[in-house]
Symmetry: C4
Subunit: 275 residues, 4 copies
């Protein structure tokens, strides 16, 4: 977001500073109002799905919905209008989220109103993704994301291994257990293996035979033990990134010197002794 710039023109620059910026009182107020609009709008979508509430307040909810859609539409258009490269914004993560926040309602209006097709009604539920607009407000996410990105490959390997384990054990359980216990097909048995390995354990499918229970015990203990792996990966990464950048050299500004370094590792200049 740091490289975004306002489009030319006084009004546009002003609007840009309010909508995209947080440095002015007006910009901060806009953020707070937007935050509340998102939270209320998402809550309304949730409430609408409860049968009793829809029966009683259906009409009011629909009107409120139209209002919020109008609001978010204005916000979206203003963003497009005030930024210098609107296409780039429209194709960015936030641009797509902003568009998805308003599109379902319009689709519902076009394709036959509120109560018609199931597909359209389902689409309208996608308005709940407005919650992703909240991510804009998260500034602390950076160091978390960095630690995750640095461990990306190790985590992928871990997930691959987990997947292979569930496939193998799901198949074994399908061979060992009867369909009556719920192991009716291999995909379903793999589903059970995932439920068990991740220690979720619904209990809708559960082994009945001795051999099945022994296998299940093995998967459980495995799942209980290997959760240590992603945890260890992320912990180690965070311990590493938590470590100081180290002393800085006065002449070349290189960092990463240990506390007792006496010469700069980059330019060889003498380092000052630590006070």
């Amino acid at each position: 977001m740091g490289t975004d710039r306002p489009a030319k023109g006084r009004l546009r620059e002003h609007v840009f500073r309010i909508i995209f910026g947080t440095g002015t009182p007006a910009g901060r107020l806009f953020d707070v109002l937007l935050l509340w609009a998102i939270v209320i709008s998402v809550t309304l979508v949730m409430l609408e799905s409860v049968a009793e509430i829809k029966l009683r307040y259906g009409r009011s909810l629909y009107l409120a919905e139209l209002g919020f859609t109008a609001l978010f539409t204005v916000e979206y258009l203003l963003r497009l209008w005030s930024i210098d490269r609107p296409i780039r914004y429209a194709r960015s993560f936030f641009g797509i989220v902003d568009l998805l926040s308003i599109l379902p309602t319009y689709l519902g209006l076009v394709f036959g109103g509120m109560h018609s097709l199931m597909v359209i009604r389902s689409l309208r539920l996608l308005r709940i993704f407005r919650i992703l607009k909240l991510v804009r407000f998260v500034s602390e996410a950076g160091s978390l994301a960095r630690a995750l990105r640095a461990s990306r490959r190790k985590i992928t390997v871990f997930l691959l291994v987990v997947f292979a384990i569930t496939v193998v054990f799901g198949t074994l359980m399908y061979m060992v257990e009867s369909p009556e216990a719920g192991f009716t097909s291999i995909p379903r048995s793999i589903y059970w293996a995932i439920v068990t390995l991740t220690t979720v354990g619904y209990g809708d499918i559960a082994p009945q035979t001795i051999v099945g229970q022994a296998l299940a015990s093995f998967i459980m203990i495995l799942g209980y033990g290997i959760i240590a792996v992603p945890t260890g990966i992320v912990s180690a990464e965070m311990v590493r990134t938590n470590n100081d950048p180290g002393m800085e050299c006065m002449s070349c500004h290189a960092t990463g010197h240990l506390d007792d370094a006496r010469f700069c590792r980059k330019c060889g200049a003498k380092m000052p002794l630590q006070a």
Copy 2:
């Protein structure tokens, strides 16, 4: 609590030292007695809620309850009387907990006795919060609290992300699964997503369709994996606070000496002995 001081007057100072202090034998004895009073009192509230026990021992429990309330009332009043700034104490965390420990019983007495209004009876259950008085005895909590406080923001971000995930996946499941499987509304589906992501897995709501089970598998593995994030945050924080820089040498300012070092590891100068 360290800046609390007794009110003026000999008796008050004496009482203060017994009630708030732990340095004298009387103070320690008071703490032990209070500890037992809290534990027994909380146990009685629990027992009273078991139907059979209440039927048989209801009267004795009620009398014991009155006795403990009297005891805690005296304790509360003595605290108010012996401290120099009673208002500040009354508005502190422990002051409020101490008041809440006795208030419900008195409300029960005033508003129509023991067996009358449901609301009042519920309020009386709040006496169970006396358990929070135990926190007073916890001195080791400091470093835990510090580590948690230092990671506060990262944990908030993490919880926000977790909440956003559950909202999005709860809605998707509501669209995909039928109400018969338990996904009757978005809030309920979000509840299911939380139950699944945290690997609790009651099993009262469980996906039945292939698509639903695939989505559920994804949430489970996600939940199994991202638990590494808060764990990594706290681990890294604790490793960091565990890492003392160590003592510093007075003549060459080298650091990294263990607590029992007697000579500087850099210049060989004598280190001061630790008190």
Copy 3:
């Protein structure tokens, strides 16, 4: 165990070396045989509890049981006889475990045979504790135990906090939910809170109301998050103990020097430079 010494006399010393030691081929053979005896004996106790197996092989199992009891009795007596301080051994952890391994069978013989009193039969099941004899074979447990011992206080505080949370939320759920959902008393509601906070989630008790499910969601996310605390404690402790003992001083044999130390931190002698 390191300070145990054989009783005087040639034969006793010889027996001691076989039973307590692992340095001679005979000592190692004894350990392997004992290991198998424990494993088979524990397996037999388990099998005896399966109704069909007991019906068919009850008599053989009983005879095998008598045989193993005789074997472990001889082992116990030989240990008492060959050690120089038998009382100390008898009162040690392993002494008590060794006694408990044989006592239940004798109690069963004395108090009316195999099929009589329920209490005695239950006692006989305690033979399963023979599994604890296996702990003797675990030599790697040291560093684990050290890390746990060092974090003992923090873990106690953590468990106290967890217990307080479950008491408070169990009571709240008892107030909010109906007995029909399974929340029939405060102790039972606390049991539910523990099941939920630890992410076990049986599902035999589950909230039905919106408020109850909201509270439950809170506990779940709390439980999902605070598992980071014991994990962080133990990780930090292990990272700390994993760190090298450091260089050793040639003149006073003190350890704990960093790699770049030039003077001993204990005696001030010059340290050799690392090659």
Copy 4:
């Protein structure tokens, strides 16, 4: 695999480089094709186990199955032919997996067709182990495997302790709970203890008595707490392996230089550039 060499002869060397190697474009293409073949083949086995799909597409699935078997047979034979020590390959882990991937189909053809013997069909499911061939593609697994191997003994001790705990508590629960609650034998009670300790919690077996629920609560909190142990072990190990000692200076032998250091931090001498 690093010490494998091609058999003599031009063509064999060429084939070897494609099948076993990843250094040439052809070798990489082969790997990608093989990967897809495995994934599709495994998917087909899964789909075949779903009753409705088998009914409709049974014949096509059977033909595809024959095709994949032919393909993997050719691959297996080419591997045997192009390597210099075919026996060693055939007896290696992947050699056996490769053989197991094709054997069940041939057995099915010989012993009476596709729908006949249940045992043969079960064998055919072993083809699923083809997914283990995916491990070949994982290069990042190395550091994970190293950390796990380094903690191998501690993890074994941990698993032994976990097993001992479940045996002891399973037996106690068998003594305390009635068979009606599902605790019909000690092995089944131990199974329950594993389900509970690992926080899976199916709920098919759940304690009903107060004492049983108290014991269960204890196991849950224990399981919730000791998961910190494997996590701590692996985290500590990963932190350790993450901590490079860094480059060493050639003239003063000081360590702790980052990879991009150009001057020694102790004596200021020039460091060699990293290749």
